[in-house]
Every structure is written in structure tokens, then in C-alpha cells.
């Protein structure tokens, strides 16, 4: 049985994800655009109470699917990765890293720290990134870009690793945004019951 439904514009959002990652390599300030991927799913889940972003518009999911057709081993994901403990634990960990990144941005904003032109991969490996001329940019704006791009690149790398090891969209199982939006939908649904 072949799914013969015609492709829509949103089926090509994986191109946007690639563009985002590539543009970020050339100019780190493009990292700010990644906020769209953070805010849109949250706004949708808060207002519409669904996961339509994950279901239809997630460019990263589409990209992983596309890469998965060639490179995925298509094995089942380990059970612990799909438990609520792991998923919500990973969400809390991700949020704390996000807050830490915001705090670093604040320290640059108030002059305590200087701008650090570094991309941190998997929260550990620091890669010096001095290819951009940021002399005309407010330091905290650049610092946020480095922090945010590090997060986006890190989550993409983890997504690609699990795409290869397990099923193409294994990242979706523990994606912090997916967990957060599902959590919002669950809470909203429970509130409606009372």
C-alpha cells in the first residue's frame, strides 16, 4: 500500500533545518532564528492544545526521517529511553542547560564576563569559533547566539546518533520540546476534566 498523497509546502521544512545549521556556521547570529523552533511548538500547545508542530511542521523530524531512509539501522529504541523518568529528566536537564546559557548571556550583558567565541558540543567539548567578525555586534547578543547554536547543534548531533542506532525519528521519543508540549496537553486535558 503506497501513500500517494501529494506533498505539501510543510513537507519541505527539513530544508529550513539544514539552512539554519549551515547559515549558523557562516554567521553565528543566525542562531537567533532557532527561537522559532522553541516558541512555535509552545505557543501552539498552549493555545491549540495539540502537538501539530511535532506532527507536521518539525523540520528536524523530517530531516531525521530523510536521513534515516539511508542510514538508520531501524532497531527498536531501548525501553529506558521511553520511560517518563528519562523523558522528563532529559527535559529538566535540557532546561537547566538552557537557563545556564541564559545566565552566561546575562554575565556578558552586565559586563562580568567577556564574550566567549566558543561552540560547546554535547555540553562538554568547546570548539573555538572565531570565524565571524562580531566587532559591530552587542556582546550579549553574540553570546546568546553561541549558546543557542551550541544547543541546537548538540541536539541535532544526538538526534543523528539515535537516528543511526535506532529508528529514524528516535529523537522524537525524548525530544525536550516534544515532551514539554505533550506535558502541556496532558495538564490542559486534566484541568478540563475537573
Amino acid at each position: 500500500m503506497k501513500n500517494i498523497s501529494k506533498k505539501k509546502w510543510y513537507d519541505y521544512l527539513w530544508i529550513v533545518t539544514i539552512l539554519y545549521l549551515v547559515l549558523g556556521l557562516f554567521n553565528i547570529l543566525f542562531a537567533w532564528l532557532g527561537l522559532i523552533c522553541f516558541l512555535v511548538p509552545l505557543i501552539i500547545s498552549f493555545t491549540k492544545y495539540n502537538k501539530v508542530y511535532c506532527n507536521i511542521y518539525c523540520g528536524r523530524g523530517q530531516l531525521l526521517n530523510l536521513m534515516g531512509t539511508k542510514f538508520s539501522r531501524n532497531k527498536p529504541i531501548p525501553k529506558f529511553l521511553k520511560t517518563k523518568w528519562f523523558r522528563y529528566g532529559f527535559l529538566i536537564f535540557f532546561l537547566s542547560m538552557f537557563i545556564n546559557m541564559l545566565f552566561n548571556t546575562y554575565l556578558v550583558f552586565n559586563g562580568t564576563n567577556n564574550l566567549r567565541e566558543v561552540i560547546t558540543l554535547i555540553w562538554t567539548f568547546k570548539v573555538p569559533w572565531k570565524f565571524n567578525n562580531l566587532s559591530n555586534v552587542t556582546p550579549w547578543i553574540a553570546q546568546f547566539s553561541f549558546g543557542f547554536y551550541s544547543m541546537m547543534l548538540t541536539s541535532t548531533i544526538i538526534g543523528i546518533i539515535t537516528m543511526f542506532l535506532y529508528k529514524p525519528r528516535s529523537w522524537c521519543v525524548y525530544c525536550p520540546m516534544g515532551t514539554a508540549t505533550q506535558g502541556i496537553c496532558i495538564i490542559k486535558n486534566k484541568l478540563n476534566e475537573y
Binding site: K2, T83, Q182
Partner: protein, 69 residues
């Protein structure tokens, strides 16, 4: 005695479903919907148990079982 028809159908383990919508997208009969952004729900009247959803489910929580109609 009425004849019983046994058909294969997709069963979702809603406890582990992350509502990613991958099954919904791949279902050729549009038998799957995402219930309020919480989990995938299968319309047993439409499902023929083709197992496409089970193959793509990233959490591998869809099982194809035989059920009575």
C-alpha cells in the same frame, strides 16, 4: 451462531506514546489520529493491520494483534 471475523489491528501502548504523529502520517487509510496531543488513537473500523505504523513508530510501541470484529 454468528460468524466471527478475526482481523489484524494496530494497538498503541498509550503509556509510552509520545504523540509524534509518525504513525498518523504513514497510515494509508488515515485510521490514526493524535488524541489531544497526548497519544495516538486507532480507528478500528478503518485499521486493516497493515503494520506500516508499527514499522515507523520511533518508540516501537505499536503492536499488530489479531482481534475480533
Amino acid at each position: 451462531m454468528p460468524r466471527q471475523i478475526i482481523r489484524r489491528k494496530a494497538y498503541v501502548d498509550t503509556k509510552y506514546c509520545v504523540a509524534c504523529g509518525e504513525c498518523q502520517k504513514n497510515c494509508p487509510l488515515k485510521a490514526i489520529t493524535i488524541y489531544k496531543g497526548i497519544y495516538a488513537e486507532v480507528d478500528f473500523n478503518k485499521c486493516v493491520g497493515c503494520s506500516k505504523c508499527a514499522k515507523v513508530c520511533p518508540a516501537s510501541i505499536i503492536e499488530i494483534k489479531e482481534g475480533e470484529v
